[in-house]
Symmetry: C2
Subunit: 224 residues, 2 copies
DNA sequence: TTATCATTCTATCAATTAATAGAATGATGG
DNA sequence: CCATCATTCTATTAATTGATAGAATGATAA
C-alpha cells in the first residue's frame, strides 16, 4: 500500500514542476527552443540564481534536461509530450476556472470589442497553407525563428514590423503566429497591421503546438 | 506583461491541484465514480477533515465539482480530460524519472521475475473483445463496478475471488482489470488465479482510461 | 423546534517552498 | 597555471502548505 502512495508522490513531483507561474513561463520559452540559463532568466524576468534553481526543480521533475556546452548550460524540454501536457492543462483551466476567462477576456479585449474575425485553427491553417491562399508571418525574435518555424513563414520580429512592411503582401490574407496562445506578440502584430490596412488574423496556437502535433517544421541553417 | 504572468499563475493553480500524492489518490478514486467526502476519505486513508480540505483545493483548481445530496457532499471530476491529463503525467513520469522506474519495478516484480506474458494493451483488448476469445474480469469493489464497467465484464471483487471461481471459464483466457495502471487489484488477481491454474493476464490500463478514450461502457441499473 | 450527522471552517504547528545575496565550482582561453 | 565568466551551491528570510483537533454550519428526521 505504501508503494502506490510512493508512486503517487513521485507523480506529484512532476506536477509540482508545473505548479509555479515562473516555471510555466520558463517552459513556454523552452518550448520555442533550448536556451542557456542566462537567456531564460532574461526572457522570464528572473535573477540568474533564481532561474537556475527553478530550472533544477524542472530537471528533478523530469520536465527538462540540461547539457553543458562550453561555459554555458543549455536546457531543453525532455519531451514533445510536455507541450501536449501544457496544452491540456491550459484547456482544462480555460473551461473550468472563472478566473481564467476573466484574464483571457482582458488579453483578447481588442479582438472581441470590434467583432473581429476569429483566430485561425490549426486545421484551417494547414488547409490554407496547402492552397497557398495566405502568407504566414512569424513575429518571434529572430533566434527563436532560426531554431524552428512553420513552413514558408516569413520572420519579422514584432519590433521591426513597421520597417519591413514591404515583405508583406497586400493582396493575400496574412496569418500571424508567435509562441503560443498566451503570447501577446501576434495580438500586437495583428493590431498594428490592421491599422495599416492589411488583411490579417492570428493563428490561435503557436509554433510549439504545431511542432508537438507532428506537423512539418523548418530550421534555418546556421552558416558555421 | 503582468497579464501573461497572471495567466501562468492561474494555470499553475491547476497544476498545484495535482501536486500532492494524496490529491492524486483522491483523483484516482474519483476517476472510478463520484463519491462522498467520507467514502473518499476512507479510500484514500485520510481523516475526513483533511480529505475535505484537499477536495476543496481540487475544486479551486477546477479539477472537481461538488454537489450536495441530502447530508452528503458528492464530488466528481469536472471533465473526462482530467483522466487524459493524469495519463499523460504518468507517461512523462515513467519515461523521465528514474525513481518511477524503481517503484514500478517493485510493483511489477512478480510479473517480471517469471518472464510472464505482457499486460494487454487497449487496442489488443478491443480486438479480443470483438472476437469473444477472452473473458473480461473486473476485480474492483461492487460499487465501482456498478457505477461503470467495460462491456461484458464479470465483476468479482478481489476479496471474493476464491469463493466465486465457478464464474470463470477454464477454456478461455481471462483478462483482469481494475482502477488503472497503478492499482494493485488486478496484479493480485492475476497472481491468485495463475496459482489456481487459470490462463490469465492483466489489462495494462483500467476502467477510467477506457472510458476517457471514448470506448463503450456499461452501467448497472439500480432498482430504485 | 431539537437532535443528529456529514461536511466545512478555524486556529495552530511543523514542514516545505521561493527569493535573495554571496561563496564555491567548473570550463575556457590566455 | 591563472583569470574570467556562467552557473550552481549555501544560508537566510519570509511566505505557503499540510495535518490536526475542535468549533461551526447546514440538511434531515423526529
Amino acid at each position: 500500500m505504501t508503494c502506490k502512495q510512493d508512486l503517487h508522490n513521485t507523480l506529484a513531483l512532476v506536477a509540482q514542476g508545473l505548479a509555479n507561474g515562473h516555471r510555466l513561463t520558463l517552459l513556454e520559452h523552452l518550448a520555442q527552443s533550448e536556451a542557456s540559463v542566462e537567456r531564460l532568466a532574461n526572457l522570464a524576468d528572473l535573477s540568474v540564481g533564481n532561474a537556475s534553481q527553478h530550472l533544477q526543480q524542472l530537471r528533478r521533475a523530469g520536465l527538462v534536461t540540461a547539457q553543458r556546452d562550453g561555459k554555458q548550460m543549455f536546457y531543453r524540454l525532455t519531451d514533445e509530450r510536455i507541450i501536449t501536457l501544457l496544452t491540456l492543462l491550459r484547456q482544462i483551466a480555460e473551461t473550468n476556472l472563472a478566473e481564467m476567462e476573466r484574464l483571457l477576456a482582458r488579453l483578447f479585449a481588442d479582438e472581441n470589442a470590434s467583432g473581429e474575425i476569429k483566430a485561425m485553427s490549426r486545421v484551417e491553417l494547414q488547409a490554407a497553407l496547402e492552397t497557398g491562399e495566405i502568407a504566414l508571418l512569424d513575429v518571434r525574435p529572430q533566434s527563436e525563428f532560426a531554431a524552428g518555424h512553420l513552413p514558408e513563414a516569413i520572420n519579422i520580429p514584432i519590433d521591426q514590423l513597421e520597417t519591413m512592411l514591404t515583405l508583406l503582401p497586400r493582396d493575400k490574407e496574412i496569418v500571424a503566429y508567435c509562441r503560443g496562445p498566451y503570447c501577446v506578440l501576434s495580438h500586437e502584430a495583428v493590431k498594428k497591421l490592421r491599422a495599416l490596412g492589411f488583411k490579417v488574423r492570428r493563428f490561435e496556437e503557436g509554433f510549439p503546438e504545431w511542432k508537438a502535433a507532428g506537423l512539418p517544421v523548418q530550421r534555418m541553417e546556421l552558416h558555421s
